[in-house]
Amino acid sequence: MLSFDGLVAVCVIYVAGLFGVAFLAEKRAAEGKGRWLSSPVTYTLSLSIYATAWTFYGAVGSAARTGLEFLTIYLGPTLVFVGWFWLLRKMVRIGRAQRITSIADMISSRYGKSGGLAALATVLMVVGATPYIALQLQSVTLSFSVFASSGALGQPDAESTATWVAAGLALFTIIFGTRSLDVNERHPGLVSAIALEAIVKLAALLAVGAYAVWGVANGPSDMLARIAASPLSEIEWNGARWLGLTMLSAAAILCLPRMFQVLVVENADERHLATASWAFPLYLLLLSLFIVPIAVIGLDLPAAGGNPDLFVLTVPLSQGKDGLALFVFLGGFSAATSMVIVAALALSTMLSNHIIVPLWIRATQGDRPRSGDMRRVALTARRLSIGAVLLLGLAYYRMSGGRDALADIGLISFLGVAQVLPALLGGILWRGATRVGAALGIGAGFAVWGWLLLLPNVAETGGVMLSIMSEGPFGIGWLNPVTPLGLQATDPLLTAMMLSLGVNVLLFILGSLFSFPSPLERLQGAQFVNIYDHSNTPSVWRGSAGTADDLLVMAQRILGSGRAGRLFQDAALGQGRDGDLPEPTAGFLEQLERELAGSVGAATAHAMVTQITGGASVSVRDLLAVADETAQIMEYSSKLEAKSAEQAQTAARLRDANAKLTQLSVQKDAFLSQISHELRTPMTSIRSFSEILMQDDGMDATARARFSQIIHDESLRLTRLLDDLLDLSVLEDGRVTLHEAEVELAQILDRAIYAAGAQEAGGKIAIRRDRGAEAVMLWTDADRLSQVFINLISNAQKYCDAETPELMISVHHRPGRIEVEFADNGLGIPALQQALIFEKFARLESAQGRPGAGLGLAISREIMSRLGGGLTYVPGGAGTRFRVRLPAKALRAA
């Protein structure tokens, strides 16, 4: 007997094998080898993801409960592949010609590349597929536990099993599904793994069927007798349900996201479809061959247990055929995993292309990054979406508790995704179908389906909304989802199907009839409906504001620089142009848009190209049909005008900025030249005198002392200059930290006068003060303020040219501020030069030859502005008069 651990080990080995096959296929494909990768057989086998764990396990369960009804699930696709082959071919042709990435993209592309419609379809698909994914996780978990419990080796934890399976599948899908951005480049590795799984599940089902007929029963005749004797033969044939289910599964094969993925997106050659048209029904036939025998045997064997959904597994297990059971287990595992992988891939493409990337583009439109980061965003979005899709499935599985019969969940999903069928078929077959109609139909059908099927299914488990179930919302009885419109139908699925699709089709047709399609919608409609004659329509280009350059930059963001470059070069070559950039002709833009669509979906690609070119590509014939063209052109030209006005504004701003820069650069040169002069001047004396002292040929001591003194003084001057420069640079950068505290103005003045070496008595200059007015408390940086005062006092000492120099320091209390004035009795500063004194290195004519580099006032003014006040020269007085202003907020109660 196989242990649970052994079972896990087998699974791991099997999955590793799948990884190996996928890797090998990717490698072969990259090398251009491996014809089998794109053979019709592989294509047909990949289509078998239609048969999921639901079909693998559930068909037998369905047969045991409702007889031959399970056949409808095979009948629908068979009818489509045989009878509606032309429709499939058209879908594949359109998908390839327009580089469609998903079913939502197909709908959006047809209806004028509408982003909103794409998002709606995406939401519908995700909601519809989530129960289905949950179902697969449930079946894997269930088969695990059945297998393990029969071995009596301890029950595995169902929830952790489901989690591990989901994580593994997410990893696999991310690795093989998001290697390349362009979905139309297809995923050979993934498809190969799926084709292998298709073989495994068919072989497993055939093996257990053969065992049932020849191992348990005694050959076909005994089998037939057993069937005739079984309760199955007594089940009544329900015509309406047969018809409904057949239609539903036929719709599902067209609408399921994962089916669209393998059918259209992964299609390498249209001719493969011809093979699939008979090979796929054959595959389904083989799958269904032994369903009834297994069901009958299962019912006959008491040891097979009570759940017919697991007969496929329990029949061989109960007979001790462990090897066969293991094979069956792997078959079911294959069915579940291949469905989840492709569904996650398809849904993630939709989520990323139609919801995440458009939102991202909108969010970043303001700055429009031009670097190649779009690719990374799209890939990351896709990877995250894969994780999200599997998480959703896992969450649904946990919420629903895994109670529902497998087939029921599958049918709910089928009907959900079938809501896009009217818009899809209408779009392909009817030129008159419009976006409004499609949105109304899908939206309403989705709502009815959600209300009648999904809600009860969720609510049943959640225990919420029970009153709604029986009484309807707000007490409106006929709206209750169990007996809608008072219909006492015995079959909720059929009721929901008729109501939802009925409302859907009705609104789709009415909406289309009563709305007017946009030009692009008409164009796309024509291209979809007449795909066979529209392959090479000549078209004209309206609007050419976009340049090939811009387009190339954008293309690089999405396709990567290598591929975008090649695309543009080839196009340029095709147009017979030199260089790498083609003329943005209609033909080229269409081609570019299709290439981009392969990566980000038609709606987004169209929006991006339009954003740059500002126009739309339209064929000559369709142009004639476009009635509102004039309005569009007018709108376009007004946009153009706005754009050129904007450009002129930008140019003016650029000119201003350039002028400012030039001015700044001139100022900087002048400043550096000034600094050079100020540094070199003291250095000249220092160097000269030190050389004289070094030679020292009998110089007398007085001269030597004097020269040393000069060297010393000039060194100090250099140091002061450097200090001032650093100080100024710190102040101008605003990096200075102020140490503000409460301090009395008189104290600061005392300190400044002392530091300037100008004591009130016996100094070079007589200082007069008004101590009464100075007795005021300030909230300021005392050191910095005193630095300003020192500068003003020593300036007066240096420059006041009166016989008996005097400096008057007066304090004025003004409303909201305090002013401290420094006025000397000299000649003052000439009017012309008053404007210059606060400039760096500004020294007045009269000041030449006196110490100082001319930075003091510049520094003082910076300090005062940091302290929230100001420093100004007061003209009109007799002598030089400076006013220091301290702000109101510096005031504190004296």
Partner: protein, 135 residues
């Protein structure tokens, strides 16, 4: 042989250094600290060689040089220009205006002394020795 030299320089310490060096080398040295009145001083003192600072209060050394070269009396007066700005452009301008030599501050004492000697020699050998420049 060294003769009379006039220093037009506003930095007193630099003036003192140059004065010391040139006196020691045998020159008769005069000094003047203002650009505005420099031309008068030159006319009055009639030096054999002129040492002229570029940045002077009142009038720039380059303007003074231009006037000297325009006046037939001082057309051939050997002039050594000094500058602390240290930009190539200043040097080119000074030489273009007819300076005989050009030194950037700070300079080496020997260089200053040698330059002046060489200028004096060239002036003595040939009156037309404009552009003789530093040896």
């Amino acid at each position: 042989m060294p003769g009379r030299v006039l220093l037009v320089e506003d930095e007193t310490n630099i003036m003192e250094a140059i004065g010391f060096l040139l006196s020691r080398d045998g020159w008769a040295v005069n000094g003047h600290g203002n650009g505005a009145t420099a031309l008068e001083a030159i006319a009055r003192l009639a030096p054999d060689v002129l040492v002229l600072d570029m940045m002077l209060p009142g009038r720039s050394g380059l303007d003074i040089l231009r006037d000297l070269r325009a006046d037939p009396k001082t057309e051939h007066l050997p002039v050594l220009m000094l500058t602390a700005k240290g930009q190539i452009r200043d040097r080119d301008m000074a030489l273009a205006l007819g300076a005989n030599a050009f030194l950037t501050k700070p300079f080496a004492n020997a260089e200053l002394v040698e330059t002046l000697r060489s200028m004096a020699r060239t002036a003595n050998l040939d009156d037309v020795a404009r552009g003789g420049g530093a040896a």
